[in-house]
Symmetry: C2
């Protein structure tokens, strides 16, 4: 499993609408091959900055399957208008964990 | 609960030693007030880039309690020598989740 980390800066004042649009986009993600769940994080220091952390079974489930699908078109249709700039997207593998 | 996201670029060739040092630092985090666990993520696109995602009960558990403690000194003693630059640290709140 890999994590997609999308750093998204939204237009000032659009925060609540953006969050509602991401909630609506749950269905599009839920239909997507290899989707394992997401968390939407809001920055404390930069209140217009979000990070969408999406778990996928494989890298290709995001870069090929999702981006080539109608689910991606639906996602961008819901949230794209709130972006202040193109999202900065990176993928990671979890190499170590620690429990409290 | 909040998430500390520390973006850490390490010196080329030090990846394995850095990961071993983070494993050793589990104890220092485990002793820290408000610590709820961490994940170490390694970037797929930039193999010298890591993100340490640390869950804390409150922002102050990281910024005040941890940074002012001997646990922080121990952490930096273990990993600081591998840093290619000062880490870029941000804090987030989770505003939305979606399960597969």
């Amino acid at each position: 499993m890999i994590t997609e980390i999308a750093q998204i800066d939204v237009k000032p004042g659009s925060e609540a609408d953006f969050e509602a649009a991401v909630a609506k986009a749950r269905e599009a993600f839920g239909r997507s091959k290899g989707f394992c769940g997401f968390e939407l994080h809001k920055s404390i220091e930069k209140p217009q900055r979000y990070r969408l952390m999406v778990k996928w079974q494989t890298l290709e489930n995001h870069t090929v399957d999702f981006r080539g699908s109608e689910n991606f078109t639906e996602w961008r249709g819901l949230v794209g208008g709130f972006f202040a700039a193109p999202p900065d997207v990176e993928h990671t593998e979890t190499v170590l964990t620690s429990q409290a």
